[in-house]
Symmetry: C2
Subunit: 206 residues, 2 copies
């Protein structure tokens, strides 16, 4: 007797809905909690009105849930605008725009900060986030290449790319924010630092 499996529109729709509800509850818990330490699947399940086992059914593990939350935030975080920034005629303007987009991304949902905290305790989750960040690095590299053309050594270009990558990272954003700046003020400071990094590119005086 072969198992007669089937796909059910209603079932999978309902499952997708509970999935959404769990993700929503998880990001809310991350947002409202003081620390990632308090983030337990028990709390999330209760907040979502489901059982802890349902969370495991949907996401497999704590890590799976965190990745799903990260992807959900990324989906609604305005990162789709990056394509525009990358193809801007003036690559310097494109970089400014990129900084703006990422400042918006890091500040939009405070759960991203907690997700970065989760990287500390879960190496595989950290790796997953790092892979997603590589997109940013490639974006920076593309713009720097367009800006620098061949008027700078490969090493100088790599320095600029890695420095700008660090400047547009979440830790830098968090550090500048903690010093009492609004999103726009942080954006301005980071943009200026990126300009300086590009200036050093053509004039590596020191």
């Amino acid at each position: 007797m072969p198992p007669r499996s089937y796909v059910s529109p209603a079932r999978s729709a309902a499952a997708a809905e509970t999935r959404e509800r769990v993700i929503e509850a998880a990001s809310r818990t991350l947002r409202e909690g003081e620390s990632i330490a308090r983030f337990s699947l028990d709390t999330v399940a209760k907040a979502a009105g489901v059982t802890r086992l349902t969370v495991y059914n949907q996401f497999g593990s704590r890590r799976g849930l965190l990745e799903a939350v990260f992807d959900e935030i990324a989906r609604h975080g305005g990162l789709h605008q990056l394509a525009d920034a990358m193809t801007t005629a003036d690559p310097r303007a494109g970089l400014d725009r990129m900084v703006e987009i990422f400042c918006g991304f890091w500040s939009r949902d405070s759960a991203v900060g907690r997700l970065h905290d989760a990287m500390a305790t879960d190496p595989e989750f950290a790796e997953a986030v790092r892979e997603r960040n590589e997109r940013r690095r490639r974006g920076v590299a593309g713009l720097v290449d367009r800006i620098a053309a061949r008027q700078a050594s490969p090493q100088a270009r790599k320095d600029a790319v890695d420095l700008i990558f660090a400047l547009t990272s979440y830790p830098t954003f968090a550090s500048l924010s903690a010093a009492g700046r609004s999103r726009d003020e942080v954006c301005r400071v980071v943009q200026a630092a990126c300009h300086a990094a590009l200036a050093n590119l053509s004039d590596p005086s020191s």
Copy 2:
């Protein structure tokens, strides 16, 4: 019958020695472990050849142990050279020296990276580390003030201080290191970025 308490040189010396041994075992465990997730008091106690309860006797809690390890690393990390850097005649040279000192500090013992990871799960430990970092911020502020004198607005100076503070932080060092740089190469990149931040100070063109 009043309790006749006493102080014992031999006893406290032995206690101090076990304390040292536990701290050593803890930093070794942090250094060798892949992630802070694996760092348990059980492991440390075994590595030190004592009982887990002894760790609690000496440090009170996991957090207490982590703070003790951090302070121990700071003591042997070369930060005492900061006083020299601060009082260097040329404040720009002093800042270069400061960057050098911190690159040395962040790279000397890989346990510091794990300790920064621990900040994510223990808010009070994070606060303790942040307080210790404030010394770095004050150092930067002092040097920037000497460099800028009154040729720049307070806001521009604050921007420079906060940016240099972020540039000399552990996350920035780790990011640039992960891109495949030696300690000295990271140092060079960070120094150049700091120079640029100072240049923006007197010429806030963008």
